[in-house]
Symmetry: C2
Subunit: 312 residues, 2 copies
Amino acid sequence: MELIERILHGDPRAAARLITMVENGTAEAVAALKAIYPHTGRGYVIGITGPPGSGKSTLTDRITAELRQLGKTVGIIAVDPTSPFTGGAILGDRIRMQRHSLDDGVFIRSMATRGHLGGLSRSTNDVVDVLDAMGKEYILIETVGVGQAEIEIVRTAHTTIVVAVPGLGDEIQAIKAGIMEIGDLFVVNKADRDGADRTVLEIEMMLEHGESDDGWRPKIFKTVAARGEGIDALTQGILGHREFLFEEEGHRRKGRERTRWVFRGLLQERLTARALDSMSRGGGLDPLVDRIAARETDPYTAVEEVLRKLGL
Amino acid sequence: MELIERILHGDPRAAARLITMVENGTAEAVAALKAIYPHTGRGYVIGITGPPGSGKSTLTDRITAELRQLGKTVGIIAVDPTSPFTGGAILGDRIRMQRHSLDDGVFIRSMATRGHLGGLSRSTNDVVDVLDAMGKEYILIETVGVGQAEIEIVRTAHTTIVVAVPGLGDEIQAIKAGIMEIGDLFVVNKADRDGADRTVLEIEMMLEHGESDDGWRPKIFKTVAARGEGIDALTQGILGHREFLFEEEGHRRKGRERTRWVFRGLLQERLTARALDSMSRGGGLDPLVDRIAARETDPYTAVEEVLRKLGL
């Protein structure tokens, strides 16, 4: 396939085309993803997450600039929790990112969180594979840190960065609580604001309770991304964690975890599609849904019936 | 089963016990859910969602008080995006809710978003069934409006309420954009703040683009939940939407949609469990994950192999 060849040579337009195919869930997309798969597994995946307003996009932008300075190529996936009604701030971020769009070493893709056939996390993962096959050495995934799919996406990265900001209010800070345990690196961004040291202290205290299963001691960085402050140290922190993983073969373990998660999700999706397909001869879901809605049966018994008919 | 009898008589301790069983994913839980299912379908489900800090808990508390004044019984499910590290604000909400805990007509349950066997959305749905079987006339589900699972939970309610606040900043407001199209009622809470009218206007403008498939025209309410202002009008709005649904048999349609969604999710979960179970004879997932990680095969081809072996 010509498309595959072009992607493997790093052609951004070919990559963009395949990603659109992936988002539309076409059969050609699956064939292409199979074809590029042997050429994946070299990219280093970095997940960046945090509450809204914490400056994730700006951080991503700055880390990208830093990695480019070091001569590394970068792919960016912005998982965007917005709909067509998107507001101004997000548009601003996109425009800011545009400065990299003239740079061949950077490929940027935004993904909406809705309307993905087979779920956001798998689509995102397929896009990681495309950027990986293109030869991007670092793949940055930026997403808001709420929701199971979004958390899975960053959890399966090689390095997971959790972003906090001083004084966003207790309830907003609480959101990140659920993602605290997945952080390899912590960033207190907008660190020129009041309360930055308190936020650092809070994270430190929280980390005392946690324990990393691979012996990594999570690190905390202060940044002011909008002014580029602290980004060099953070980038060195990323490279340090990468080095740590490589020493212990941890990058393979993390890669394997991600593979398991991807495989499991895909299995689940395809099994359901086949089951629904085979049910379509008997009228599909409708007759069963009718019986459940009429309380003639219950969802659990109905599912057991379907499994029996499928011989499972 | 004595437990079932007690739940059907509205015993809160029996209900709490079954909910814990549901969260732990026990076989007894499934048997009990089957047994109570014929007694469900009477409760009216209200989903309340919005960005962090928008005052959802306070609103839920106030609507509950209003419904109690009208002599209605209420069940509350707070889907809580926090971990054990939970901060002060959330704890405050819980304490505020406690005033209903002495009231037999109200049953409150918090659910963490992580660690649910089979996923948050199904657990939440099972809990709706338990409260429904207990005889709770109104079931309020409160959740932060981000993440696919969380959105599904409120989307499948009879009445979906989307909460906004003035001046939370563009990026936070943008979050709610993804959930704007699911709102039957919109609430601008903390409406005593600057910019409340602008927020109302923004929602109105946005609604002009949208169209409801059942002929319902979404309504906007201004509230100051902390002071109880505007809650009576909002509650009348809920009852108005309920009446609209009942006139058009819309409550049956919504109930059926929810049934379909529950059934589909359960089917997916059980299919995957059976497939993994049958793979365990061949060493489970591990050998396949190894081959994929080594790039000897790809996830898509591997899944096709599994499906073939299962005869699907």
